[in-house]
C-alpha cells in the first residue's frame, strides 16, 4: 500500500505565560497512513490531535521530526494541491455567500471558471446545501458551516482529506450524512484522516486508528487488532424472577417494572440463569454478550497515563 502521510518523531514545544515556560505538546509522534484507508486519530481534549494536524498542514513548525505527504515534504505546494482540510469549529468569511466562498477557494487552486461553476453546484448538492448557495455565511448554523466546510475541503477533488472533528456540532441525521460522505470518499479511493473524540463514529467508519494521550501515541493499528474479541461480560434482562433467586449469579445493575438487568461475568453463570428462568417459567427479554469496545480501550489508556 502506498504511504500517503508519514510522520516521524515529530516534536513540538510551546512557550506560554508572561514569563515564558516551555511545554512539550507533541512528544515524538510517528505514524503512517496508507492509500485508500480511513484513519482515525483519537484522543481526549488537549491531547495534541489538532496540533499534529496543524504541523502536517504547515500552520505550526515542528521543533524536530519529518512529515511527508505523498512522499514529498509536507510544505511542498505540489503535495498541498492534492490535499483537502476541514478545521475544527470552522470559521469562514461570513460576508461571502456559500457559492462565493467555494469559488474563492477553488480559485486558489487555479481551477478554470466553467469547471468551478460545475463543481460548486455538485458539491453543494453533495453536502445538502444547494438551497443555501446564495445565503451569506453569517446566517449559517453550526451544522451548515460544518457542511460547507466539508464542501470547501473537497473543492479540489483531493486524493487525501484531513478532517478535524468533522462530526462535532451535528445532529444525529447530520452525523449520519457526513459519515456516509466520508465512506463514499473511501469508496472513491481517497484517503481520509479523521480526528475525533466521538468514539462510536470512529468505530463505525475507520479502518485503522492511532490513540494519542498527552502528546504521545499510545497505540495504533487495525481496529480488529486493538480491540479484543473476547467476551468481557454478558448483559441479561429477565422478568418473572425475584432478585433473591438469582443472587450470586451476577451483578444486578437495575431492577424496574418486574425486569432485572444482570451483568454476568462467568459463562457458566449465564447457563445457570437461563436454566433458572426456564424452571421458574420466567422470561428472557434480552441477552447481549459484550466484547471490548474502542471506548473501553480508550478509557483504559487515558486512565493508565
Amino acid at each position: 500500500m502506498t504511504t500517503v502521510l508519514a510522520l516521524e518523531n515529530v516534536r513540538k514545544t510551546f512557550k506560554t505565560g508572561f514569563i515564558p515556560k516551555s511545554k512539550e505538546i507533541l512528544k515524538g509522534i510517528s505514524f503512517t497512513v496508507g492509500e485508500g484507508e480511513i484513519f482515525g486519530y483519537l484522543g481526549p481534549n488537549g491531547a495534541g490531535k489538532t496540533s499534529t494536524i496543524k504541523c502536517v498542514l504547515g500552520l505550526l513548525f515542528p521543533d524536530s521530526g519529518t512529515i511527508q505527504i505523498f512522499g514529498r515534504p509536507h510544505l511542498d505546494l505540489g503535495a498541498k494541491k492534492k490535499l483537502g482540510f476541514l478545521p475544527e469549529n470552522p470559521y469562514f468569511y461570513d460576508y461571502l455567500t456559500a457559492a462565493e466562498f467555494l469559488d474563492f477557494y477553488a480559485q486558489l487552486f487555479g481551477i478554470a471558471k466553467p469547471v468551478r461553476r460545475e463543481r460548486i453546484g455538485a458539491l453543494l448538492v453533495r453536502v445538502g446545501m444547494d438551497k443555501a448557495a446564495g445565503l451569506q455565511l453569517r446566517k449559517f448554523s453550526r451544522g451548515m458551516l460544518q457542511r460547507i466546510g466539508l464542501a470547501q475541503a473537497l473543492i479540489n477533488e483531493p486524493s487525501f482529506v484531513i478532517l478535524d472533528e468533522p462530526l462535532g456540532g451535528l445532529d444525529p441525521i447530520g452525523r449520519k450524512e457526513i459519515r456516509d460522505i466520508i465512506l463514499r470518499l473511501r469508496d472513491e479511493g481517497k484517503t481520509v484522516v479523521l480526528s475525533s473524540h466521538i468514539l462510536q463514529d470512529i468505530e463505525m467508519i475507520c479502518d485503522r486508528v492511532a490513540i494519542i494521550v498527552a502528546g504521545r501515541i499510545l497505540s495504533q493499528g487495525r481496529l480488529s487488532d486493538l480491540i479484543s474479541e473476547k467476551v468481557l461480560f454478558t448483559e441479561v434482562t429477565i422478568s418473572g424472577l425475584g432478585a433473591e433467586e438469582i443472587a450470586g449469579l451476577g451483578e444486578s445493575v437495575s431492577a424496574q417494572a418486574g425486569s432485572i438487568l444482570l451483568k454476568i461475568y462467568e459463562e457458566k453463570n449465564v447457563q445457570a440463569v437461563l436454566d433458572l428462568v426456564r424452571k421458574k417459567n420466567g422470561r428472557i427479554q434480552s441477552l447481549i454478550p459484550r466484547t471490548q469496545t474502542l471506548e473501553d480501550l480508550f478509557v483504559d489508556m487515558v486512565k493508565s497515563t
Binding site: K54, L57, F61, F85, F92, L108, F109, I162
Partner: protein, 254 residues
C-alpha cells in the same frame, strides 16, 4: 495568481466593512465643511477649500489604511480563517502580499471617491477643474500605500489595538521627523549628534509626500522632487513588507 485571488477577496471584505463607509462619510463631511470655512475667511477663499480638502483626504485616507490594515491579518488569525487558507497551495508571503494589494486597491477606490467630491466642490466654486490637485493627491496615495504596509507589518505580530497605536505613532513621527533636522543643526558634533543623525535616517519622512502647500499656493513643484518622493515611498514600502514577510513566514498559528 494566488496574490490576485487574495487581493480581490480582501477588497471584497474591506468594501463590505462598515467602518470604511463611516470614515468616507466623515471625509466627505470634512471636505464639504471647507466650503463653510471659506465663508468665514477673509482673503482667498479657494485656498481654504483646497487646504482643508486635501488635509481631509490625507487624514481620513491614513485612518482608513490604519484601521482596516491592522485588522486584516489579525482577523484572519483570530477567526481562524487562515487555517484553511494555509492548507491550500498558497505561500505565506503570497497571502500577505495579497492582503496588502487588496487594501491598496480599496484605498485607491476610496481616494478616487474623495477626490471626485473634492474636485466637484472646487469646480462649483471656481468653474474650473483643478487638475494640479491630482499631483498632491497622488503623493498622498503613495503615503497611504506605505502606511498600509506598516499597518500590515505590525498586525503580523501584534493585536489590532496595539497595531493601530503603533501605526498611528509611525504616521505622527513620520510627519514630525523633519524637526529632528532642526535639532541636529543646533547640537555640537559628538556622540549625541551621531545618534540623532542615525535616528533621523531611520525614521520615515512622511513630509516628503506633502506638497499641499506648493499645490494650493500655485508654487512650482520640481519634477525631481516628485519622482524622488515616489521612489522613496516605493522603496520604504518594499522594505517594510520584506520585514513583515520575514516575521510572518516563521509564525506559528496556534
Amino acid at each position: 495568481m494566488t496574490i490576485k485571488v487574495i487581493a480581490l477577496n480582501t477588497f471584497k471584505e474591506a468594501i463590505r466593512d462598515r467602518i470604511l463607509y463611516l470614515l468616507l462619510f466623515f471625509a466627505a463631511l470634512s471636505i464639504l465643511f471647507s466650503r463653510v470655512l471659506a465663508f468665514l475667511t477673509v482673503g482667498d477663499r479657494t485656498k481654504i477649500i483646497k487646504d482643508v480638502g486635501l488635509a481631509s483626504i490625507s487624514l481620513f485616507g491614513a485612518l482608513m489604511a490604519i484601521l482596516i490594515g491592522t485588522g486584516l491579518v489579525t482577523k484572519e488569525i483570530e477567526k481562524r480563517t487562515i487555517f484553511t487558507l494555509i492548507s491550500k497551495p498558497l505561500r505565506r508571503h503570497d497571502f500577505l502580499l495579497g492582503k496588502f494589494f487588496g487594501l491598496v486597491l480599496t484605498l485607491f477606490v476610496m481616494l478616487a471617491g474623495m477626490t471626485i467630491i473634492f474636485l466637484a466642490l472646487l469646480f462649483f466654486y471656481t468653474w474650473t477643474i483643478e487638475w494640479r490637485m491630482l499631483a498632491a493627491i497622488f503623493l498622498i496615495f503613495i503615503e497611504l500605500v506605505l502606511i498600509t504596509a506598516v499597518a500590515i507589518f505590525f498586525s503580523c505580530f501584534s493585536t489590532p489595538i496595539l497595531s493601530s497605536l503603533f501605526s498611528l505613532a509611525f504616521y505622527l513621527i513620520g510627519h514630525f521627523a523633519w524637526s529632528l533636522d532642526t535639532l541636529l543643526k543646533k547640537i555640537p558634533t559628538g556622540p549625541a549628534r551621531t545618534a540623532l543623525r542615525v535616528l533621523y535616517l531611520l525614521l520615515p519622512r512622511l513630509e516628503n509626500f506633502n506638497i499641499k502647500t506648493e499645490v494650493v499656493h500655485g508654487l512650482p513643484v520640481a519634477r525631481s522632487l516628485f519622482f524622488a518622493s515616489t521612489a522613496y515611498g516605493i522603496v520604504y514600502t518594499a522594505f517594510v513588507l520584506g520585514l513583515a514577510v520575514l516575521i510572518f513566514r516563521r509564525r506559528d498559528f496556534t
